[in-house]
Symmetry: C2
Subunit: 191 residues, 2 copies
Amino acid sequence: MESGTKLERGFTLWFTGLSGAGKTTVSEIVEKELRKRHGSVEVLDGDIVRTNLSKGLGFSREDRDTNVLRIGFVAKLLTRNGVAVIVSAISPYKEARDMVRQDIGDDFIEVFVDAPLEVCAERDVKGLYKKALSGEIPTFTGVSDPYEPPAAPELALRTDEEEPEESARRVISKLEELGYLQTAEEYYRAS
Amino acid sequence: MESGTKLERGFTLWFTGLSGAGKTTVSEIVEKELRKRHGSVEVLDGDIVRTNLSKGLGFSREDRDTNVLRIGFVAKLLTRNGVAVIVSAISPYKEARDMVRQDIGDDFIEVFVDAPLEVCAERDVKGLYKKALSGEIPTFTGVSDPYEPPAAPELALRTDEEEPEESARRVISKLEELGYLQTAEEYYRAS
């Protein structure tokens, strides 16, 4: 399908979880699949957002929440215009995530990317846990700053128990189940 | 056309000009017409943006430019997904507007909403000029802060010389001319 044209319904796939839990790894596999199966895909990841929407914000609860609400605002605009939006953000506070959920409505799909803190700290992809544990980073989610897990996410992934490909497959299945993507069977029946 | 579905090309219609020049007045008439003729329309006006993207920013050149670039970032995401985006923002600095133009590319349509300062100050829709001239507002565009007019806008409207309806009609004609909207003739030929 030509870029900028589409007939599909939009949604926001919101990956929340600790640093190192696997949000980016899983979401990148999901993104590849979505680009084959949905006309419009946008990724709002931490770096893009920090540069373009939230430069100057710090890591207080207020600033973290402002960051989450800004991402939510942009995700809402895209979603209601038919875009498949992928958000990867620690988004540690339940209240802010729930405000985004309320704002976007049924098309908000929360994916809890879950792994024990020790596993995340051992992976330490960006070397941040080392700095957090030594005190070099003073407010680090999971170490010295809270993370509030979702009470009722649409999907929970245990990335210490399954491979990223398997996690991504479960996300895609959820999207099919919710009617945002056609199953292979539906696709062939329609064409 | 159902919400969230569309086949049209996106664009950003960027209204720039002094406070009181008529950006909102003209853009609201344009918005009504676009909602009839384009599947997806979003309005990013000053208030929406200050609340959702730029709370905490002030009126220094740096903060004003940050605000403009943030609006531009969101407008770009929407535009490349087929949305007709209407932006009303003083956006006083040429460099920042041109960065947005470069980022969005051909689908950026700059509309200079022009009226002499005295006319804007006399209209004083929000009572801001009075405060600016008395010094109560220290940095006010056109009074105590610069406004750099566009060198080559796609369209310039002299709102002191024509009625808002006439200005809006010229914007719509420009969109037809650029191929973003069908003319009535094309519409009836196609249906």
